[in-house]
Amino acid sequence: MAIQFNRYSAMSLAREALRGHAGWKEAWRSPEPATSYDIVVVGAGGHGLATAYHLAKNYGIRNVAILEKGWLGGGNTGRNTTIIRSNYLQDDSAAIYEKSRLLYESLSQELNFNVMFSPRGVMMLAQTHHEVRGYIRTANANLNQGIRTEFISADKVKRLCPIISIDGPRYPVLGALWQPRGGTARHDAVAWGYARACSEMGLHIIEQCRVTAVNSSGGRVTGVETTRGPIGCSKLAVVVAGHSGELAEMAGFRLPIESVALQALVSEPVKPCLDVVVMANTVHGYISQSDKGELVIGGGADGFNNYTQRGSFQHVEETVRALVETFPIISRLRMLRQWGGIVDMTGDRSPIISKTPVENLFVNCGWGTGGFKAIPGSGWAMAELVANGEPGNLAAPFGLDRFREGRFIDESVAAGVAH
């Protein structure tokens, strides 16, 4: 079977090393679109790909296409700062983010693709008394949810992260919410790994294929128009992050979502100096060190609607200023690159995994500034919703109806920005 033949292993690495690496195959196929599929997934970011993967893996549904307007993983999945954690306050969030984090623990084995999951530990600094109280509350909630986190003292922060300045000029570090099994993963590899696994199971990944219209008949979805022609489907899963509003408009409804730019930057590479992830929510700075040695830095989001994947200079300034306060050692580092992604913000800062006013059209969106960590669990829950037509336990709280009912899953109280 092809799956066995393409397996990556120490053996295949040795074999290829001996023949000048001439035998590696493309990781996924690029078929021509068929005229119709059982299920069409729009958006080949992590969430769309994971949805398709679990449709095939958990439900045996393989007549599936994933349509991508650009290149696979070129949206937020390839633009984020890759922080993975599950220390959320509300039970419904904790359930899906922890499911996801657990799936990350074995994702490389599951996909036979090294996603470089690195559970190095994530600390969220408490730099105001309000944050201290908030994080102690979250640590208690996590205890009840069965998620291992701990509120640690400033001394322990300093021991875990020696380059930090505890006494900081504006906001001294008072402690931190510490999740020892949080960490990072390689973002591209997550998208590529899922894509390869999907392709091996016979799903169609169709890049350079923009959806331009959604067709329905009698209130039920029948297919999409694309830049590569019309494609029919019985069910449609829209998983397009910042472009969810555009797709919803094509289908004739509105979402409680606004699209804004969030940006990140990386420094020149330096020797290892930071082996945990540090999030400073009061001053809006997020930092970790990549295996190449670059400091990967995330900042605050724009407050206005924006579809340009750029970001703006004052946010870079703001973020770097905040981080230099906390990590004086980085003050003379040069920054290499900066970029932006368009994130899909909901009012309660929680995602939407839901049915819609159009029958057989499902949406997965609203992950905003923090959905990389959720990719495996979200794909799992979305596949369940799409396959069965009804949400399972993980997805049920995240329906669109919660806005009408006032049943919010309020994570904005826990952290203003939640990477």
Partner: protein, 108 residues
């Protein structure tokens, strides 16, 4: 960086002097409205990739709220106008129509 003109004090203020306030011209639902009307009023967003009418506040200046017509895809600004209007003034609409010939004309 965005530069927007405050229609009250006439200052060309850059983004850091202003506070964004989201979608403009939202019709308020009051007592007697249906759940659906409340949901639309409170949560449903137009969020267009293109022309957007939005609210801003000259927070580090005169402190007043005003409206802006802006393209979210290119960041082009079509103009700003006072907050005490229920819909964008004709001059702004004409300007947008000139710049965006195919524009469907404000779903607001």
């Amino acid at each position: 960086m965005l530069i927007l003109r405050c229609p009250y004090c006439g200052v060309d203020a850059d983004e850091t002097e202003l506070a964004p306030g989201g979608e403009a011209h939202i019709k308020r639902s009051g007592p007697g409205s249906t759940d659906e009307e409340f949901e639309t009023y409170l949560f449903a967003k137009v969020n267009p990739k293109g022309v957007h009418f939005e609210r801003w506040r000259h927070s580090h200046g005169c402190g007043k709220w005003f409206h802006v017509a802006r393209c979210t895809e290119t960041l082009e600004v079509f103009g700003s106008y006072r907050a005490q209007t229920l819909k964008p003034p004709k001059a702004i609409i004409d300007k947008i129509a000139g710049r965006r010939p195919g524009w469907a004309g404000g779903r607001n």
